[in-house]
């Protein structure tokens, strides 16, 4: 039983580390631009005139 608690705890700490990593890499610094950026298409050359 203690092993299970240990496992759940390790998992939770993993998420905490992921969260800290996310903040450090600047993902929360700009919460608007990426939502626009993802909609841009890569254009194939010379498809218009």
């Amino acid at each position: 039983m203690l092993v299970l608690i240990g496992c759940s705890f390790v998992l939770a700490v993993g998420f905490l580390i992921a969260f800290i990593w996310m903040v450090k890499s600047g993902q929360i610094d700009d919460d608007y631009t990426p939502s626009v950026r993802i909609l841009f298409d890569d254009k194939i050359k010379d498809d218009e005139q």
């Binding site: 705890f9 939770a12 600047g26 919460d31 608007y32 950026r37 841009f40 218009e48």
Partner: protein, 801 residues
């Protein structure tokens, strides 16, 4: 559309093509600049720019070359570039013209145009672009010129150099929330058996292990996540101020100590869940309140208005020099539309300087050779050569910043409702705790400590501490949706307290565009036009100047006599004709009724009345209505840097009790505000230019009214979009009503406290009651304030989330 002709809109910038249309590939353009940008984008296959949003570009009519020569200077470069090696350089520009998704698209694909650019990353909200470029293929100057060429000129000012951007300080709060949330969740999970009274049976070591894990988890909550409250309370007490942090810190410390004691001594399981939950909710409240408008700067001073550098002339050699290196006696070259960086003497050129931003005067001022030209003016007529006679920091205008209102760091906590309440709250709390302790000392000695600490724990004013952040934060967000941007949420409360409004005139209650003039009456012959122009040109009255500009005649005629009658009109004899310009009364004819915001100037030539010019004053829409509404509850004042030619008009708009003052210098305004406040008035000052900067700073609430919120505005508490001016009374009322919401939610949280205290005083508080009561009270308060502020905004027709 007033005219019947079809207006052609520029495909690039969306402006109406007034000066002819330039067609290219079935698209119409207003100027060569716009067309060139289109051609450049077409060539590089970036025409998606025009598909994402319609006409996203910036008008290219007023672009000048040679402007960025100073960027070749290595000293300037080193201040702008954040990192560079022998291959690449990285920097970050603020680009005020970023305004739509097309902008992001174009800037991030700009590497397709210029090979030297490695990557561009736009932050839309901050209006910044992080650029990496290849130093071997491109110079900084070329980079900036390319950006300027496609309409995205970076904002380069004295303020931006020398200050490297620091990492986001907000991140610490996210870490704290993350840790608190993590610990809160896990403690709850581990406390479940206890909540439900599950029998862990014979295995006593489980509940011991759980208790120790909980204690371990509450350590980072207390020392890391909750540290700001502990330090805040300490700082407050040192200043002899009991802020809301004090009762919070008492609660946190008591909780933590009691947890340690109970768990280590094995007498109980402690209140770890309450501790973690408390800190978690508090931090959420703080995060909610801390939203800031990143693209707006509330702390600007004159440095961000002045350019980085200026051209100096030394024996015919032109060298760019950083403004802070200018010396007295330097000769400088100012090109058309450039800003004069320091008080200087005019040596060469036709100075026609627009001081509207500095002094509030509308019309450009002509300066003669040898006169002193003040820093901050913008040259509007060709190039000038000047000799610097005072350093930038000591110039007439920038001296204002040495006034001590700019040195004063205002503590936002002082005098807020929350601070006032928490003072009483803390004393009452301590009184209750000690009386409970004394009571049990008499009746049951074993319960003394339990009752005492329970009171301090359960009364920890979490809900109270949350009511202000959520109500004010919501109000701030809703106002932000209406382009009424507050520097911080506390400003809502300040606005609710004001009783005096002070307005600047030019640019604040007037629009920046020129007044609209029209002529009605008999058709004017060419000679008539010349006669009127010549007569009007002799007068310096702003209305005469406008009429002269409106007729736009260059011919000259001999003026035999000229007389100006103050407040009435002018009469002139020109080439044998008698010209009269003035009011109906002046010309002895019946007056025509028009709305009070426009002036009629009648014309008569050789005693024959020809007609009149109607000059519509460019007051902001709904100004009279705004003034009428706000004057009910506030005293009004007007401080104008302009002359008093518009006083009669303004008298009609403002109530008779209002104080209208003209020809006020920047320091006059500052002094006036300080005097008002010395008499216990809570002043809200509305201004727009550098000349109001002192007054805005000195005022209890400074509002800078701006036509373009991303461009320069002096430091203030609120930045307001000028187009929203007519809604001002609603905004003020909304702030007042928001305070009402806070009062009610405050009572709510007190009610919860009383329930909790009844358990605590009787010595029957158990961890599970604390763990239920604390989140419930917090959630109620958060829910109530959010719904109430939402409903308020809806009822008052304020755009809301």
């Amino acid at each position: 559309m007033k005219d019947n002709k079809i207006e052609t809109v520029c495909h690039h910038c969306g402006d109406i093509c007034n000066d002819g249309i330039l067609p290219y590939k079935n698209k119409n353009f207003c100027c060569v600049g716009c067309k060139n940008v289109f051609m450049l984008l077409l060539e590089n296959n970036l025409t998606d720019y025009y598909n994402i949003e319609a006409a996203p570009g910036k008008s290219m009519k007023n672009v000048q070359k040679e402007k960025f020569a100073y960027l070749d200077d290595t000293v300037v470069q080193s201040k702008i570039i954040q990192y560079s090696d022998d291959k690449i350089a990285r920097l970050q520009f603020t680009i005020p013209s970023i305004h739509c998704s097309s902008c992001i698209y174009l800037l991030e694909n700009i590497y397709k145009i210029a090979e030297g650019i490695v990557s561009v990353r736009v932050n839309f909200l901050k209006q910044t672009a992080s650029i990496v470029y290849n130093v071997n293929k491109m110079s900084l100057r070329q980079l900036v010129e390319l950006l300027a060429k496609i309409g995205y000129e970076p904002h380069l000012s004295m303020n931006d150099i020398g200050e490297k951007r620091q990492a986001n300080t907000n991140r610490k709060l996210y870490f704290q929330i993350g840790v608190a949330g993590f610990c809160f969740g896990n403690i709850m999970l581990i406390s479940f058996p206890e909540y439900f009274g599950l029998d862990v049976g014979t295995k006593q070591y489980f509940s011991n292990a759980f208790a120790y894990i909980n204690l371990g988890l509450s350590i980072p909550v207390f020392f890391f996540s909750g540290q700001d409250y502990l330090f805040g309370a300490y700082r407050g007490l040192r200043k002899k101020m009991v802020t809301i942090d004090v009762p919070l810190a008492i609660g946190l410390v008591v909780l933590f100590v009691r947890n340690c004691y109970e768990i280590l001594s094995g007498t109980g399981i402690g209140y770890c869940d309450t501790l973690a939950g408390l800190v978690f909710f508090l931090l959420i409240g703080k995060w909610f309140q801390q939203k800031t408008y990143e693209s707006l700067s509330f702390e600007r001073d004159y440095k961000s208005y002045f350019p980085i550098s200026v051209m100096t002339i030394n024996d015919g050699v032109y060298t760019p020099i950083a403004i802070n290196k200018l010396k007295v006696g330097d000769r400088i070259l100012i090109r058309n539309n450039e800003i004069i960086p320091a008080d200087s003497i005019l040596l060469k050129g036709q100075a026609n300087i627009d001081f509207s931003f500095v002094s509030g005067e509308k019309e450009p001022i002509r300066k003669e050779l040898g006169e002193v030209v003040y820093a901050g003016g913008r040259q509007t007529n060709g190039n000038l050569e000047l000799e610097v006679c005072k350093l930038t920091e000591q110039s007439y205008l920038t001296q204002l910043w040495s006034n001590n209102v700019f040195a004063k760091e205002t503590d936002s906590q002082v005098g807020t409702f929350q601070t006032k309440v928490s003072k009483y709250f803390t004393w009452i709390l301590l009184a209750v705790a000690f009386s409970a302790a004394i009571f049990w000392m008499v009746f049951d000695n074993s319960k003394v400590i339990h009752a005492f600490t329970s009171v301090l724990i359960i009364a920890c004013p979490c809900a109270l501490a949350l009511s202000s952040p959520f109500a004010l934060g919501n109000a701030m967000r809703n106002l932000g949706r209406n382009q009424f941007y507050l520097k911080s949420a506390n400003v809502v409360e300040k606005i609710a307290n004001i009783n005096t409004l002070v307005f600047d005139k030019t640019g604040t209650i007037t629009q920046n565009e020129q007044a609209v003039i029209s002529y009605e009456g008999d058709t004017l012959s060419a000679t008539d036009k010349i006669l009127i122009t010549v007569a009007a040109r002799n007068s310096i009255h702003p209305l005469s100047i406008r009429i002269a500009n409106f007729l736009n005649c260059n011919e000259n005629m001999l003026v035999q006599s000229f007389k100006e009658y103050a407040g009435k009109g002018i009469s002139a004899h020109i080439a044998g004709h008698e010209v009269l310009l003035g009011s109906a009364q002046f010309l002895n004819i019946p007056h025509k009724e028009v709305n009070e915001l426009s002036t009629l100037i009648y014309v008569s030539i050789d005693k024959k009345v020809k007609g009149f010019f109607q000059i519509n004053h460019s007051y902001r829409n709904g100004l009279d209505n705004v003034i009428k509404q706000v004057s009910k509850e506030n005293n009004l004042h007007l401080l104008s840097g302009d002359n008093n030619s518009e006083e009669p008009l303004l008298r009609n708009i403002f109530p008779s009790s209002a104080n209208l003052l003209f020809k006020q210098s920047p320091s006059d305004k500052l002094l006036y505000i300080s005097n008002l406040q010395a008499n216990n008035n809570k002043v809200m000052m509305f201004g727009d230019g550098l000349n109001d900067a002192g007054a805005l700073k000195a005022a209890y609430v400074g509002v800078s009214v701006s036509e373009d919120t991303s461009s320069f505005s002096p430091s203030s508490d609120v930045i307001m979009d000028a187009n929203r001016f007519e809604h001002l009374p609603q905004f003020l009322q909304y702030c007042k009503n928001t305070m009402g919401v806070i009062y009610i939610s405050f009572c709510l949280s007190l009610a919860y406290n009383i329930v909790g205290l009844s358990y605590a005083v009787s010595g029957t508080l158990s961890p599970i009651i604390a763990a239920i009561l604390m989140p419930i009270s917090s959630v109620t308060v958060i829910g109530f304030t959010s719904i109430a502020t939402y409903l308020l905004a809806k009822k008052m027709n304020i755009k809301h989330i």
